[in-house]
């Protein structure tokens, strides 16, 4: 069964540092997403990406965040100058010809 893979599974970083979360979407999918889930809270949409550009972003996705598809298989989320409140599970997802998306297992980001 195809799956979305994310690395690392857990990332610990110091406040103020930059982190890059990596994702390999399902190979024939064209739409890519990042969501986050703060512990005990809802899964929140961050950004969607299609045709090598951002198609939508939420209010959360400010200048601190950026996404990139550096090659034909990876999709990354960069968080600059991390804050304590950035600690969360970050989920990558991808979709092809369905409106619903396949999610990865997540990266737990801990900012200390």
């Amino acid at each position: 069964e195809p799956e979305v893979t994310q690395t690392p599974s857990h990332q610990v970083t110091q406040m103020g540092q930059e982190v890059i979360l990596r994702c390999v979407p399902i190979s024939n999918h064209l739409y890519f997403y990042w969501y986050r889930q703060i512990l005990g809270q809802k899964v929140e949409f961050l950004v969607s990406f299609y045709n090598n550009e951002i198609s939508e972003k939420s209010e959360i996705f400010d200048d601190q965040f950026s996404v990139e598809r550096p090659d034909g298989s990876n999709f990354t989320l960069k968080i600059r100058s991390t804050k304590l409140e950035d600690s969360a599970m970050y989920f990558c997802a991808s979709s092809g010809d369905t409106r619903w998306a396949f999610f990865g297992q997540g990266t737990r980001l801990t900012v200390v």
Binding site: V43, S55, W100, A101, Q105
Partner: protein
């Protein structure tokens, strides 16, 4: 913004019984809804979806009901099994590709 909420944060059922998980949504413009299942340590997994032009959709052991009049969505799981223990999220879509998730209901199946 609009929110999707769940009535019950936890639900415990006996193995073999049917489970009903409820969800209230607040945006009448939502035209597409999804139920996701999230097991511990894993990402959300698609279960079933429904468009707003339908009021019921059935899958394997699962049924989603949509009541647009009261903006209510439910997930029914027949003959609940221990492997069904997870957190269940509903999500709604009313603009572009953004999905708005509910808080989640934790389902525990008692053997």
């Amino acid at each position: 913004g609009e929110s999707v909420g769940l009535h019950l944060p936890t639900l415990s059922v006996q193995e073999g019984d049917n489970s009903i998980i409820n969800c209230a949504y607040s945006n009448s413009a939502s035209d597409y809804f999804i139920w996701y299942k999230q097991e511990s340590g894993k990402g959300p997994q698609f279960i079933i979806d429904i468009r707003s032009n339908m009021d019921k959709r059935q899958g394997q052991r699962v049924t989603v009901l949509l009541n647009k009049t009261v903006k209510h969505l439910s997930l029914q799981i027949a003959a609940t099994q221990p492997g069904d223990s997870a957190v269940y999220f509903c999500a709604e879509n009313y603009t572009g590709n953004q999905f708005y998730f509910g808080t989640g209901t934790s389902l525990t199946v008692i053997p």
